[in-house]
């Protein structure tokens, strides 16, 4: 076990391709499973990280950058799980607002991934850098 001041860190690098997003989710299940999260909370983390990878893959496909990598860094410190998803796929991530409409014609089907990430973790921020985007998510266990 790590001490309270030294985080336990897991790093994973994946091809920025659709078929590898499931590998990221499996890894995150393993990381979150080390903490005292409920089953639903572990699922939330899995979905949030899956969404971060999905947005990277979608942007990579549009920018013709599927030969790049996604880096996932999971860090456990006490009851705090921080997961950073770093891509080289350029372009910022736009979050959709939670739909206020019940009319499907008015519904924007883009940006739901960022909306989900915001809703599923306790802290969420997106940072752009020269080559891509870093999504940083924090979830606290009880």
């Amino acid at each position: 076990m790590a001490s309270e001041s030294t985080p336990s860190v897991v790093e994973l690098k994946l091809p920025c391709k659709p078929e590898f997003v499931g590998v990221a989710r499996l890894t995150v299940l393993g990381i979150a499973g080390r903490m005292s999260f409920s089953y639903d909370e572990v699922e939330d983390v899995r979905l949030a990280v899956g969404e971060a990878c999905t947005t990277a893959v979608e942007r990579a496909v549009k920018a013709n950058k599927t030969d790049t990598d996604i880096s996932i860094i999971g860090s456990i410190l006490g009851n705090k799980l921080t997961i950073e998803v770093r891509d080289q796929a350029g372009h910022p991530i736009d979050a959709a607002d939670k739909p206020q409409t019940t009319e499907v014609e008015e519904l924007d089907e883009q940006g739901l991934g960022a909306l989900l990430m915001e809703l599923l973790v306790d802290e969420f921020n997106v940072e752009s850098y020269e080559d891509g985007t870093i999504v940083r998510m924090v979830k606290y266990a009880e």
Binding site: P18, G50, Q100, G113
Partner: protein, 119 residues
């Protein structure tokens, strides 16, 4: 990480798409293609059965929204069967439970379709 997609007729105007596995950025195109196939073959009432779906992400939501839009343009419907509370929660937290008719049991979706369309 696979998705199995099967289809079957519900009646002469409606079909069921049975999904099994994970619907994500890799597999969602299979679902999209199946909805397009139904539109092309003149089936405008579709029920997507999520009973055996273990994982569903925003890509899947986008495909379902796109499918609903296309079917509505033809006065059709796209309803969901989703007994799994974890999968249902994704629709609830995104507010999409107000857009889709979501049923717990397959038979309820079929019965409601009959009432809605007078089939």
């Amino acid at each position: 990480m696979n998705l199995k997609v099967d289809t079957r007729s519900v009646n002469n105007q409606a079909s069921m798409i049975d999904l099994e596995g994970e619907v994500d950025v890799y597999t969602a195109p299979q679902l999209k293609q199946q909805i397009i196939n139904m539109l092309d073959s003149g089936v405008y009432h579709v029920i997507v059965n999520l009973t055996n779906v273990e994982y569903l992400d925003s890509t899947a939501l986008g495909v379902l929204i796109g499918g609903l839009k296309r079917l509505r343009e033809r006065n059709g419907t796209l309803d969901l069967v989703c007994p799994n509370p974890r999968i249902r929660r994704i629709f609830e937290i995104t507010g999409l439970d107000k857009i889709f008719d979501i049923y717990t049991a397959e038979q309820d979706a079929i019965s409601k379709l009959d009432v809605k369309e007078g089939m």
